[in-house]
């Protein structure tokens, strides 16, 4: 199977760039991201009114950001299309670049507005406490080393899963959170994402190559009483388990394909459009989603 490691190498680079870029941020260091405030809400004594205000600000800005991001994507694509031509019209490109920069500016303004609104809602004591808490985070160099080491462990674990024919999608799902967190400077949260991926990959949790159990495992007695005889035989238990399962459930009534190539082939043969359900896990068969 082809190596799919979530562009781990790229993420390794990102570790360096993002952490390094945080050496000095004269704007960011004077504002408080909503996540930081919420994360330390108990430590700074955030009131319900302040909390509700922040939640409301976030709700308002969420739709606006989606819209601006989509606009930015469109303008970037238009810029790329202009640059793709053999002869590039400088005037057109620069005009399009202005549109891209305008979009980026609006995104930055929106970010800044939220930051200002939140800061103005906090008391000077709360602001001082948050600065203290922020200063207590590890140095960028230490973080970078830690991230790189963990990322290599994730990469090795994913390779191991792939070599064993296991589906690394769940790790991919978790790792998708890493890059945005790094870009937002949320290193603690990014670190926790790496820890979660490593936990999922760990031998102990997934047992691909479990360590030998200690010989002493047989020694201690159970903390509960094992009945003298089993309640049922294995065949009776199988029946009991089967009786729990419902074969005809509504969500299995659609015959989902999982292969894009098969879907396109059938679409061409039948003249029907594809309906793509893009999802993180595997909801189309006997699995949780």
């Amino acid at each position: 199977m082809k190596l799919r490691t979530y562009a781990v190498c790229g993420l390794l680079l990102l570790c360096g760039q993002a952490v390094g870029a945080q050496d000095r941020d004269p704007i960011g260091e004077n504002l408080f991201p909503p996540e930081l405030v919420m994360q330390h809400r108990q430590a700074i004594g955030l009131t319900d009114a302040q909390k509700n205000f922040i939640e409301l600000e976030l709700q308002k800005i969420q739709a606006r950001f989606m819209d601006l991001q989509a606009q930015l994507q469109n303008e970037m694509e238009a810029l790329a299309a202009l640059l793709k031509k053999e002869r590039v019209e400088e005037k057109l490109v620069l005009a399009q670049l202005d549109k891209v920069l305008k979009c980026e500016g609006e995104i930055k303004s929106a970010h800044l507005s939220v930051g200002i609104a939140i800061k103005n809602k906090l008391t000077p004591q709360q602001q001082a406490k948050l600065q203290e808490l922020r200063a207590a985070t590890p140095s960028p160099q230490a973080l970078q080393k830690r991230f790189e080491a963990k990322m290599r462990q994730v990469q090795a674990g994913v390779l191991r899963w792939q070599n064993d024919g296991r589906d690394p999608s769940p790790i991919g799902e978790v790792m998708q959170q890493f890059e945005p967190l790094m870009k937002q400077g949320k290193f603690k949260e990014a670190d926790e994402v790496l820890d979660r991926a490593l936990k999922m990959l760990s031998d102990e949790d997934n047992g691909e190559s479990p360590k030998p159990e200690k010989q002493g495992d047989a020694a201690p007695a159970p903390t509960f009483q094992m009945a003298a005889k089993p309640r049922v035989t294995s065949d009776e238990l199988k029946q009991e388990i089967e009786s729990l399962k419902v074969s005809r459930v509504a969500w299995r009534e659609i015959a989902w394909k999982s292969c894009l190539l098969d879907g396109l082939k059938e679409s061409r043969a039948t003249g029907k459009p594809l309906l793509l359900w893009v999802f993180i896990d595997r909801p189309a068969d006997d699995a949780r989603c």
Partner: protein, 349 residues
Amino acid sequence: MFAGAAREAVFSNPEVIRRVNAEFVPVALKAWLMNNPTDDEEGRLYREIGRSKPAPQGICVANSSGKALDWALMFDDDKSMLAFLERGVKRFRDFPDAKKPVTTERYMRFPSMKLPNVNDTQDELPKSTSHARNEGCPANPTPRAGTVIAQVVGRALDAQGKPVADTVRQEHYVEDRFNVAVGMQESLARTVVNAGTSCFKIPASLARQFVNHAYLGQLDVSPQRAPDGGALKLCEFWAQRMSGNENGSILLRIAGKSEVAAAQDESRPDESNDGRRWEHSIKLTWEGFIEMKGARITRLLLAARGSEKLKWGSVFLKGGNDVSCLPGGHPIDLSCDVHYGIFGEPLAR
């Protein structure tokens, strides 16, 4: 949350099921493949679909060349879901393939919240019908031979101790699956040999596999997915070799107890800071059998009974139709007795 909510609120709707089966080729694509496309021809198709995506997950109508026609993340109401399908069919009639450039229309919520369109690049797309050389379908990786595929089913019980009739919502009825790797089976075999005829503790890694999959609700409420990994307060599984073995097979009797709890709220914004709030605790008593031949499990049978508490919400959940808030799901407040079953057999070659 999106996939679970979409399955419950959209793809369990009888009229949606009827129309999808009659008028579409339904394909469930893993977001991971779309968001991390390979550099081969298949990867180019995934990349083209992903190019216009409004979010990492969603519902999309595409034409036979793999050009996205419409995306939606949510719907105003049940009628809007059908209107979205109708619109997809109509646009497919106008743009069945890549002969004409097509603009992708995108909706945060169909039809009331529209996002900007995405223009066609008019790049020629491959017409691949097979995967890259020597490789299987990336959406269906094949586990190693001998891997035990374990299927899990879980039911919420009513006040009379009977399974709740609803099988759409995962907090009432859940199916899940996990693999018991060959290495883990070998580890169990070594423990069996060392124990002789004594009662012995099964390997912790295997015990945790059982416990990790026995919970009601969507993936997001897995205790393992809590920012701190959840608290495994108790996970003790004992085994005893039973007599009457035939053909070198042995039968192990299993008994166990487990207790797990986890929680998350917006003060720990790890999950993309989406405002989720949940609490989950599960207490179970286990019984069952493992049949082994040599170092391999030939049959796994486990049942568990106990109680479960689950609460799910989000700062963004304000009520209304479930289809209008697919990323957030619906509120859950469950406290009931539960019954789980796990049945596993080795993967057929």
